[in-house]
């Protein structure tokens, strides 16, 4: 009951946030200097065509009316059309979004698995040579921006050591699987097409590693310090006293409470993965939403910019609420405090 009322409050707040964000980004997109319609149709388009399109887009109405029309469209799944490519934005998004999602999910999995392993490992070997070495390595890892890592990967794997592809989602000549979810690896797995699965998987590796590298090391450090903090809690001594094997203590009793700070960070990082995908997708020529959004921003496509930002905003809000639920399940104390506090 208490958890659900807490979530309800979170949800209402999130809806408000999305609305605020939509107003903000809509205004930003509409104050772009220059006539977007003229820009879209080209300098030689006849004046009456320009006028007709301006009317269709309600560009001559007051801003709040334009916003009204836009929101009405968004609720029926219609974001208008791109001024640059003249394609329907909702179709484009349906096409590009799964690619970004696939990369982000894969990066996230990499981040969770390796940061937990690395964090546990360094906590077990606290203050030894290995721990110090990994600490110094992680300082470097955190300082490497995703796009710098991407450039290094393209240089290394694209030209010198060509074991992994650095361009796009599939090798040329490979026919993509029939679209079910849009995630190539998942689709090909469902259809049992292992050639495509292997190829799509290989294409995923480098972009995802570049994207998750910095977060991976950061999470590992948080997990480590949180485990080290918990190591000397009484419940650990008690379990050791009961004769529970050290491995079980480590992974079952110590890791779970130590993951709470990591989980809340991970939710934030998952949303940051989408932000950083912007540059990584450009470099790896990954046909995703972020590359689409960047191109739209660079060509000042006032219909696409708010669409992409709003889609990302909704996505991040959903992630944040999910993280709140997971944290509440991991830590009974938080569940209790919500019942008292809110």
């Amino acid at each position: 009951m208490s958890l659900s009322s807490f979530l309800l409050k979170r949800l209402l707040l999130s809806i408000f946030v999305i609305f605020g964000l939509s107003i903000f980004i809509f205004v930003i997109a509409r104050v772009i200097p220059g006539d977007p319609v003229r820009f879209s149709l080209g300098a030689r388009a006849p004046e009456e065509v320009v006028q007709r399109l301006r009317q269709e887009m309600h560009l001559d109405d007051p801003l709040w009316e334009q916003y009204y029309y836009w929101v009405r469209g968004v609720f029926s799944g219609d974001f208008g059309f791109s001024l640059d490519t003249h394609r329907e934005i909702s179709k484009d998004i349906k096409e590009y979004f799964p690619a970004t999602m696939e990369m982000a999910i894969f990066s996230f999995v990499l981040m969770v698995v390796f940061s937990t392993l690395l964090g546990t490992f360094t906590a077990q070997h606290k203050d030894t040579g290995v721990d110090n070495l990994i600490r110094i390595l992680s300082y470097f890892g955190i300082a490497i921006p995703a796009f710098v890592a991407a450039i290094f990967f393209v240089l290394l794997f694209g030209y010198y050591w060509t074991v992994l592809p650095v361009f796009g989602r599939l090798s040329p000549g490979i026919i993509p699987p029939a679209k079910i979810t849009g995630l190539l690896t998942l689709d090909s797995l469902i259809q049992g097409n292992y050639v495509v699965l292997w190829d799509a998987f290989k294409h995923l590796i480098l972009p995802s590693v570049a994207l998750s590298l910095a977060y991976l090391f950061q999470e590992a450090r948080i997990t480590r310090s949180s485990m080290v903090d918990n190591m000397h809690k009484e419940f650990i001594y008690a379990e050791r006293g009961y004769g529970i094997p050290e491995r079980v203590i480590m992974f079952k009793y110590l890791l779970k409470p130590s993951l709470i700070p990591t989980v809340s960070m991970m939710g934030l990082d998952f949303s940051h993965l989408f932000a950083n995908a912007f540059l990584v997708e450009l470099i790896f020529n990954w046909p995703g939403l972020s590359r689409y959004g960047t191109n739209a921003m660079m060509s000042k496509d006032l219909n696409v910019i708010p669409a992409v930002v709003i889609i990302l905003g909704i996505l991040l809000v959903v992630i944040n609420i999910t993280v709140d639920i997971i944290v509440a399940f991991l830590d009974p104390r938080i569940r209790l405090s919500t019942s008292q506090g809110i």
Partner: protein
């Protein structure tokens, strides 16, 4: 180590004149900071970057290469003793341009923090002081909106509206940055305002201005400074990302991200054009992160 250190200081403070307490605390803080060798490494990297950036025109081998300079005879030279990091496609020394690019990166970090921190802290203090009133609600809900979208996307969206140059990139990044300080200051202020010394100041008839800026603010400074120290590296990162896609300092003035993206076009054969500026970005972020961690340890244990 603290117990060894503590008695000495208390005796010294007892005997010393008031003026030297400042120096003692400085020495104590320096001691804390220098306990971690990595912080010293970070401080050294930051010092080298800052000093070379400030004195760039007198230090670098080819100061004229930092602007519109063309020397096709030496275009695409690999790294050598003459050109430490090679030359770019129109024959400019990459090393000299990197040092000059640090100027833009540092100016950006300073300006973004100078805009974002006072604005964010001010709003956070006001919201915290008027905790649970409509002012609190108004400010913090607007803050939530800005926190809901990653800084890079927000900065991108704003930067494309403005003309691409360094100043506008800084404005765009500041737009995405203030909200984090609002949240930190808000959290501190809303708890500090219930402390007895604040209530007492209120009873004595102190003005709201006095209470917010003289009573509450000084008690919020430690986490704010900590966050600032840790943020410098991230501002440089976002700035480099923006300039990577052409939304920053415009050519011929060098910027690190712009140099990486220009160099990436000539990748396998002219690798030095992208690799050295990329390493420069990593070095700058690494230095500021290490130093920031050291400062955080110093400030946090100092407060407790």
């Amino acid at each position: 180590m603290m117990s060894l250190n503590q008695p000495n200081n208390s005796i010294a403070i007892g005997l010393a004149k008031p003026k030297s307490i400042f120096w003692l605390s400085l020495r104590k803080n320096w001691y804390k900071f220098s306990r971690n060798r990595l912080s010293i490494v970070g401080l050294m990297i930051v010092a080298v970057i800052t000093i070379t950036a400030i004195f760039a025109p007198w230090i670098v081998p080819y100061p004229e290469h930092a602007s519109a300079f063309v020397d096709f005879g030496n275009a695409g030279q690999p790294p050598s003793l003459q050109y430490f990091c090679g030359t770019d496609v129109i024959g400019r020394d990459i090393f000299s341009r990197m040092i000059f690019a640090f100027r833009g990166a540092l100016i950006m970090a300073v300006v973004v923090l100078v805009i974002a921190v006072p604005l964010g802290v001010f709003l956070g203090l006001i919201a915290g002081y008027f905790h649970k009133t409509w002012i609190d609600n108004l400010i913090m809900r607007i803050t939530d909106i800005f926190l809901s979208i990653p800084t890079l996307i927000l900065a991108l969206a704003i930067a494309v509206v403005l003309k691409p140059n360094l100043m506008n990139a800084m404005i765009a990044i500041s737009f995405g940055w203030w909200s984090w300080y609002t949240r930190v200051a808000y959290g501190m202020a809303s708890s500090v305002k219930n402390e007895y010394f604040v209530i007492e100041a209120d009873l004595m008839g102190a003005s709201k201005f006095h209470i917010i800026f003289r009573e509450i603010l000084p008690n919020c400074l430690s986490p704010i400074f900590t966050k600032m120290a840790l943020d410098v590296g991230w501002v440089i990162l976002i700035g480099a990302s923006l300039s990577f896609i052409g939304l920053g300092e415009q050519p011929p003035t060098p910027a690190l991200g712009q140099m990486v993206s220009d160099g990436a076009k000539y990748l396998p054969s002219f690798w030095w054009m992208a690799v050295f500026p990329a390493l420069a970005i990593v070095l700058a972020i690494l230095g500021f992160n290490l130093m920031g961690d050291g400062l955080r340890d110093m400030l946090e244990t100092g407060a407790g």
